[in-house]
Symmetry: C2
Subunit: 272 residues, 2 copies
């Protein structure tokens, strides 16, 4: 079962388009795991188990593991997700971007070492930097298109032939890259109308949407403008608002509560 | 001593603008190290020692370590370069690009965990994705501008206000980012005249130039068009042509020979 089939199955079986981002910040570890040598792994696994019922996907952010030399714990977290929640989609948020043989090594990192179903990739280096990812059959390559941060404007909004650069990225994915492999796109929820613009360009391709929760993106407008006709099509990520809902003994329970509320908010628009 | 001072010192003391890229491909390990559990580390350290006399910098490529789960060996290689060759510039080729707090974790990965003097960063996410790197005082942030691969054209050459996108990136670095911290730019040697265009925009900022050696870039035109008035300004990278000059017992000696020849070719243009 390839990336899109698995994602469709996860959307249907969980009734959720919520993705829980795993950004384990060493300064915000809750009390029950703080100071433990395996704090990152314990924390992430507790969050995964607490939110699995309300989420279609999990998205570990590599940077938080890399800064702490915690690749072994990331391997454990990914293995746990694959084993304990095999129907959930595992997205490695790595935003890799390099050329030829080097890109193939990053693809192996994501798909073989960590066993991810999909990985985020930067488009700036063009087709031959993305192809090595696309060649991994059944795996998803999620291309950065319009990011949720203020600086996203610096280059992504520059006009090329009268259209912002990010729409050219969206067209490249829709017209070329998605014919070479399974693609998705990253489009930030801080710009809901742009989620709609990208949806119009890329048909039914999956959109990974960061920026809700702590980043303040508008869930309702995003879902209204970004969903497909089937009422799905979105992987709406929330990280910090869920992960750090409580720093106490009840951190997992609190995370589950925020995740359920976010899932419900998404669903109220999607079905209504 | 900050990145640019260290680089200037390295250019002068070694008389070389050659950077040796460390891309340890598991399928190309030479006979003396092949099959050893610490093959990557042994191989890289042998190459470093063999080429130190002819190079100003070393550039480990993270992807090759990440695909093999060899971060611990990358730590050892970086520590060795810092200890045994403290005047050489250590550049981590990571091409990271992410937002805010996540970018700060990637900056810590490069500058704290691996102790690099500089790191390569992707500009697509804009100013707030680069700032966390720039805030690390004395460290270098080397921005992807014009890459050496065929797909580099896909977006980098699109015209914005009549000028290719990569020149807008160069201007952003020259006019803004280089005032927030120490910057360099990546410009591929496969397009020597574009190295010249970027040089005209960015003044004396250091240019990291991949694409010579195995990628076939033209050393002479690159040096002629890309050097500063001081006859320096370039970090010219060669990886595979040096690393895999021989697969036998003489691999380090062969690497030293190719590195010296490349250094000499660069120098013949730079001083002539």
């Amino acid at each position: 079962m390839g990336f899109h089939d698995k994602l469709n199955h996860a959307w249907r079986s969980t009734g959720s388009m919520l993705c829980v981002g795993l950004d384990p910040d060493p300064e915000r570890m809750p009390a029950p795991v703080r100071g433990r040598p395996d704090a990152i792994e314990r924390f992430c696994i507790a969050i995964v188990d607490a939110t699995a019922a309300t989420a279609c996907a999990f998205k570990p952010q590599v940077a938080y593991f890399a800064s702490q030399g915690a690749e072994a714990q990331l391997e454990q977290v990914c293995a746990y997700i694959r084993d304990a929640h095999p129907d959930h989609v595992l997205i490695l948020d790595a935003k890799r971007g390099d050329i030829g043989s080097t890109a193939e090594h990053y693809a192996r990192e994501a798909f073989v070492r960590y066993g991810a179903d999909a990985v985020t990739v930067n488009p700036y280096l063009g087709t031959d930097s993305v192809e090595p990812f696309l060649r991994h059959e059944g795996k998803g390559t999620i291309i950065l298109c319009r990011t949720s941060n203020p600086g996203g404007d610096d280059f992504q909004s520059l006009l090329v032939d009268g259209q912002p650069l990010y729409t050219h990225v969206a067209r490249k994915v829709a017209d070329e890259w998605s014919h070479l492999g399974e693609c998705g796109l990253v489009v930030g929820a801080t710009y809901p109308h742009e989620v709609g613009i990208v949806r119009d360009i890329v048909g039914d391709l999956a959109l990974l949407v960061p920026g809700v929760g702590a980043q303040g993106g508008e869930v309702r407008a995003t879902v209204r403008l970004g969903s497909t006709n089937a009422g799905t099509g979105l992987i709406i990520n929330s990280s910090r608002a869920i992960l750090y809902a409580s720093s106490g003994e009840d951190f997992a329970e609190a995370a589950a509560g925020v995740a359920a509320a976010t899932r419900d908010e998404i669903r109220s628009v999607a079905v209504g």
